[in-house]
Assembly symmetry: D3
Homo-oligomer: 238 residues x 6
């Protein structure tokens, strides 16, 4: 039995609150149960130095957690003077995941920065971030389209969403909350597009190594869960 009483293939309640932020070109408060992440998309005219005069744009992401998003207060990274390794790993993952569905040439020499800030954490902050970031990115592109800057259909090639799966109490389960995440034997994150293409797989044995069969069962859960998330994204932007 899962601590939350969910079935093994049952995700938490997922919701998207678009236009959460008054200022950002696109924004979305995404909730995977008690995990709440504010995703904002900011359009800037500048691009990174290595893309100057290439005709290409860039999509990048930054990730942060409010100090008391978690059960115990964590030190504020701004006060510590640097972003930790986990933060950097996650923000690199979010950026790669989004770029996988963006045509950077069609975007043109602009940069969109997605900020994913965890307001409250209960496991799965990176997967919620990616899934919500797609909505913020979509709304930012819509904002640009409304101003004649781009065509959304040319720039955004597909949906992308993410989910975690893991072996908890010897069973493959989807969308681990914090209690499950802390106790899971294996933890894997999947980033998959709307048409089922795999963008990123990260599987880690937390305790003992896992087998190919176990991994296959996680991937099966993920594919089905992400299809559901993509449906929810579609409803959210309808």
């Amino acid at each position: 039995m899962r601590p939350s009483g969910r079935k093994t293939d049952q995700m938490r309640k997922v919701s998207f609150e678009r236009n959460f932020s008054k200022h950002a070109e696109g924004s979305c408060l995404v909730k995977f149960g008690d995990t709440h992440v504010l995703c904002t998309a900011s359009l800037e005219e500048k691009t990174p130095p290595w893309l100057r005069n290439s005709g290409k744009g860039w999509v990048t992401a930054e990730y942060g957690m409010l100090p008391r998003a978690t059960g115990e207060r964590m030190r504020r990274e701004a006060a510590a003077g640097k972003q930790g390794g986990r933060t950097q790993e996650i923000q690199r993952l979010i950026g790669r995941s989004l770029r996988a569905v963006v045509d950077l040439t069609a975007l043109g020499e602009k940069q969109i920065t997605i900020d994913c800030d965890v307001i409250q954490a209960d496991g799965g902050t990176r997967t919620a971030s990616i899934t919500g970031a797609w909505i913020a990115l979509y709304d930012c592109l819509k904002w640009m389209e409304a101003r004649g800057m781009i065509k959304v259909d040319k720039v955004l090639k597909d949906h992308v969403a993410a989910i975690s799966c893991g072996i908890f109490a010897s069973q493959a389960v989807i969308d681990l909350d914090y209690l499950e995440d802390s106790a899971a034997e294996t933890d894997a994150n999947f980033v998959i597009t709307g048409t089922g293409g795999i963008v990123e797989i990260q599987g880690t044995a937390e305790g003992k190594p896992f087998t190919e069969e176990e991994f296959a069962s996680l991937m099966a859960l993920a594919k089905s869960g992400i299809a559901e998330l993509v449906d929810l994204q579609k409803q959210a932007i309808a």
Copy 2:
């Protein structure tokens, strides 16, 4: 006329959403119009080194802004590797304001850290932070009282709230929003207790210096506005 159409002595709509955060001992989402700040209070057993074995506790604050809380995206302080001067000024102000109404000896050797994170900014983030932080602190103390650790009445001596006033278009106005703040000739922040004691005054001429009379008119507005804020705090905790 004020850009928002408000009267000179009219504050924006103020609201407090208690228990916004699942994890914190106390928390409050405070809104002064479009300025939204999440305040969380975290209880820790440790105290700063200079208080060890003194029998006294400590209340401190940290302040941050999400990168896209503002009209243009600001660089994330964690990425920049340090907190800016403005951030440090504000978090020191919040901490001093709260300590002015706390009996640190009655608190005992514990530390409460108030995190004020600006989700959306439209002027007055520091005054909203102080006003909301008091609610988060109150709820944290209630949490402690429920566990027999303290008596709220012994620790928390009074309410405290804050408001900005300024000279805008040659008129003294209360609770400046961003448009007013950017154009104000004089800007002042007042921190005042429930019984009308002044905790902090910060007045700054942005353009030409101001007169003692102008300052007196700002203080009159502030006293009345803070009395109103304290009433709202009382309703919120009722």
Copy 3:
């Protein structure tokens, strides 16, 4: 009785030693009793990025304390790797105070940096810094005038000086030294121009909150003291 035996409205002996530094365009060693601050003004052709091609110049300030300026040695900020919150607060205050009396357009696209370095501290380092910085700035502008770069009268609109006042042993006193500062119930800093315009007010309750009447008595002391400081500035540049 004040520890120093001074009357409540009696400032410490104030002196200005102009041209203390061989290299700087303007410089002044200012003493408020045992508080000694070296102020230097450095002219640079560059301006901050946000003023490029605006035709406007900039006046900014940096503040530092020698590690053993104080009763106990403090850690050197260069060794600590960052400037503390107090340092940043003070240097921002000095810069704002000076800019309040400078016509940045008349200055033209140049930057003057005022460095205020505390050689010895005995309370009131920020107010001594502002008061001495005005002399250094004046001499720097004179240096520029001698080279046909500007007219001092066009650039420098007024004097500016600063003083601290506080409630010590239940009495309003002016120009607190370290002993008074550590024990004061309320501490306020005032920055006022030669013509009596208020540039900055910062009042803080250190112990219990203060009343409007107490604050009025502090401001009365400050106005009279600053008039005296401005007279001393006038004598110094005569």
Copy 4:
């Protein structure tokens, strides 16, 4: 055809030079073709704070690249003042991979730090690091066994090695060198134990998303390659 002329399932020449370092308790210069990594294992009595008095030890890793290990000189991280996100990702991966085969309780309250420093890079530095780190760790444990501190068989539960696989020119290939890595459509790293347990999987679509079938072909290559690497480890310590 692969740029190096290798077959799709052919790894580069792999070698281990044990005891490369005079000082370290264990050390190994590992070469995967032109990728050369020096791995040293350092035993320290202290453990991380969160393990104090737990009876458990810790194995951790740090990773670095000499500035001219690469085709173009990279900025030295010590001069830049921080470790980049990629560095942190890799060193966290190495640490996790080794801990997966170590019994931390049998190790006792000690810490072993594995430093993996890339002397020359030609793709696959993280997989070479993990594979060589295991040798350094083994030799460090042997050193401890020789002093009666532990039993190697109790502490080290299995071999662990790593290999990269990718889709290059539409074909699944193993052990990508730099030329392949830069042009690969999909890049995956696998960390697998001597008994075939999977410790870590990281698959990333560099260009277009990949399919489950493609991923299966990468995993098949990886399993066979790692079996070979484990054999080489066994020969090296024989």
Copy 5:
């Protein structure tokens, strides 16, 4: 001819102003012509970690330059976030030089930190620092002796002073000022004790390499100059 008109073996006017600082246990404003350095000695009960329970004390030094001590304003190291290589080199040199004449066991488990802050620079700041630091150290030890903590004669074994010599316009000259220093072909710093023991020699060819004979002539100048400096130290403490 030297720019200053001095003879080749003529040092600048040297003066020591003892007790320059009200707070420090020992202090001295040393002037070598227009080079002015404030040296303070601070006594602390703590010692560095590696000396704990060794019965030995420590003498260390820190060095800094006010931003406008020089002809052009230099960036403040506290603002830059780190001490530069030159600063670290100099402060390490000052510390070593002083420790060469101190019996650390006789000092006992205490630390004396000498801060050398350059108020105005005109070449030779490190040699002036060492020479003045000895006075500050002496006065700090006298302060300790007056409190029965140590015997100065047991702790301080000798005088130590420093001077720069160089080849300027093909001639060996002593005590280079900034103009000479910038144009010197060879620059050497000597640290020598009161009894003529050599503590430190640092010679650097700025342009073409120098010969052993040239170096001998620099050393001869240095020995004579330092004898003179030691005499001045003796007069200063008489």
Copy 6:
């Protein structure tokens, strides 16, 4: 007797392994006994800002130690977030030493960065670095000559090499290893050109001050040792 059994004027076995690195324009693994340093020379088109449009190039150096190059593991400077004072001192010395034999105008507006990374340390890492760096620099210049960019004979004016000498057990000895270095009473480093010109002398009394005669004996040893090192450099590039 020396711990290694060497005669007082006997250096350790010295070797140079050219082209150690596949990528660098010049590279050399230099060994002074158990001290092993990898020196790479990297050519870059950019020059430091102060040389732009001067027609001159620049040669600079960076120095690092692998964490376990030493008997006890040292903290990685990249993890600590800054280069220590010793590192900065050494890299500045290496850069100055090389520039003493380079005609920067003949080099043209290019920068060569020499990275000296200590793979294993047993005393004398800075002298080995300088001696090996010359080889790496030579090979880099040869690489440039082969591409018609410069003439080696115009750019490289002489050899340069370095050796340490010290007073160990009351005797002057050359090329101190770690055991000697830790116990030496006096330690001196000499940098001398192929034609016997002195580039740098650094002598430090570790215990009691040294005499001019002792220093002369160290210099005599150094001159003879460096002549030998230059011969070895000549053989290496023959």
